[in-house]
């Protein structure tokens, strides 16, 4: 029951419909849903923090591999063209399409990297049970706000469509960067599913106090 005396820190309001709930300790692996609109308010996964951190580190390293190695190679009629992820970004690099090159670079490489670094920065000390770094809250808030703008998984589907379009025209070889990129996508999905905003904010709060 919500009463006048319930401390504010024990209350949770649903971010999507503003319904007020009293937070209570969840059993392991349980999820708490909003009673009005049904969205997940919080989840409880043991060791989620350590897993998020390790997945973020893995994804970060694989992302570096994905931008440095050759992505796709095309052979037709004796001509040869190797493409990296950077080349895909630079495809729009002529005149009017230049802003689009910048946007694509952000969507598929820069924003995913910013999100991963921010998460590693914010959660690293928490896993080692130390005080959070300065600006850890701002870093985590940034990582969450950028979530819809990180489009690595959409890019990989786009690449698949492009491959099928070209398949008839020329021989395409898939390079190591393609697999690294696909790995980044899978790991990012696993990592994002583990993130429970409420618990992370709470532990950032507790660790500071």
């Amino acid at each position: 029951m919500i009463t006048e005396t319930t401390p504010l820190d024990d209350l949770v309001a649903c971010p999507q419909c503003d319904t007020l709930h009293v937070a209570s300790a969840l059993p392991e692996n349980a999820r708490a849903h909003c009673q009005q609109c049904g969205i997940v308010l919080m989840t409880s996964q043991p060791a989620a923090m350590a897993r998020i951190l390790s997945l973020a580190l893995t994804a970060f390293i694989m992302m570096i591999a994905a931008v440095s190695f050759p992505f796709l190679t095309l052979d037709a009629g004796g001509l040869h063209n190797a493409t990296s992820v950077i080349d895909a970004v630079l495809a729009f690099n002529d005149g009017y399409a230049f802003p689009l090159a910048v946007a694509v670079a952000f969507f598929i490489v820069v924003i995913p990297l910013i999100r991963l670094s921010a998460l590693i920065y914010a959660l690293g000390p928490l896993v080692r049970e130390q005080r959070p770094r300065q600006g850890a809250r701002r870093a985590f808030a940034l990582a969450e706000r950028l979530r819809p703008w990180s489009m690595a998984e959409i890019f990989i589907v786009g690449v698949t469509v492009a491959l099928i379009k070209v398949a008839g025209l020329a021989a395409v070889t898939i390079g190591p960067a393609f697999w690294a990129f696909a790995g980044v996508v899978v790991i990012t999905v696993l990592k994002d599913q583990l993130i429970c905003r409420y618990s992370i904010w709470e532990s950032l709060d507790k660790a500071t106090a």
Partner: protein, 210 residues
């Protein structure tokens, strides 16, 4: 499945004289400006939500027109030069017999954007009319729109990869057309429109105003 608390009747943070941070969930007394936990800006309801939704939505719809009229891809081979629009690309794929890929491109570049325009308009109009019907369905629609909108970007990435990959001097080259830019803008604008929508407004219709 757990439930957060056992409140017998559901009340909102606003009715309780509180305001919740949308970023981290921390609850504050109404009138607090900045969240003490995450330093985010606090707003019980976004009064300008619908204005922003309409503005971004109209911008998105305007950008979607040239995206369909102008070519997305400029292909030149030894024998011919051709330009293909979004729909043209889908038709080409169907002629090649790749039905599955044609379906993906059609869904991502035609059905999702158009569906999003309609869904956001419906959500905005129903909130303006203080409609009390189908709140759960409308909330679901909002979640779907937020989740699925980004996937329209597929076609832009296809164009990026194709034009980077197919650069074989005289034999075949593919270059991006101007439609790629307007299509990307259209997707970005509609994403901003969906993000500007304050979903709490859906549920406010049958709640007593303070």
């Amino acid at each position: 499945m757990g439930i957060a608390g056992q409140s017998h009747s559901l009340i909102t943070a606003r009715d309780a004289g509180l305001v919740a941070c949308q970023q981290c969930g921390q609850v504050h007394r109404l009138g607090t400006r900045v969240c003490k936990r995450c330093e985010g800006r606090l707003q019980s309801r976004d009064g300008e939500s619908l204005q922003k939704v309409w503005a971004w939505l109209i911008a998105g719809m305007i950008a979607y027109i040239p995206a369909n009229l102008y070519p997305m891809l400029l292909t030149s081979t030894l024998v011919e030069r051709s330009e293909s629009t979004i729909i043209g690309g889908v038709v080409e794929l169907v002629e090649h017999g790749s039905w599955g890929i044609a379906a993906i491109v059609f869904i991502a570049s035609v059905m999702i954007p158009v569906g999003k325009f309609v869904a956001i308009m419906y959500l905005a109009i129903s909130v303006q009319r203080h409609s009390k019907d189908n709140q759960h369905e409308r909330h679901k629609a909002y979640e779907v729109v937020e989740f699925i909108g980004r996937w329209s970007m597929i076609d832009v990435f296809v164009v990026a990869i194709l034009s980077a990959l197919v650069q074989l001097d005289t034999i075949a080259t593919i270059n991006p057309g101007i439609a790629a830019v307007s299509f990307a803008l259209s997707v970005i604008f509609t994403m901003l429109s969906a993000q500007a929508f304050d979903s709490r407004l859906i549920w406010d219709a049958d709640r007593t105003r303070p």
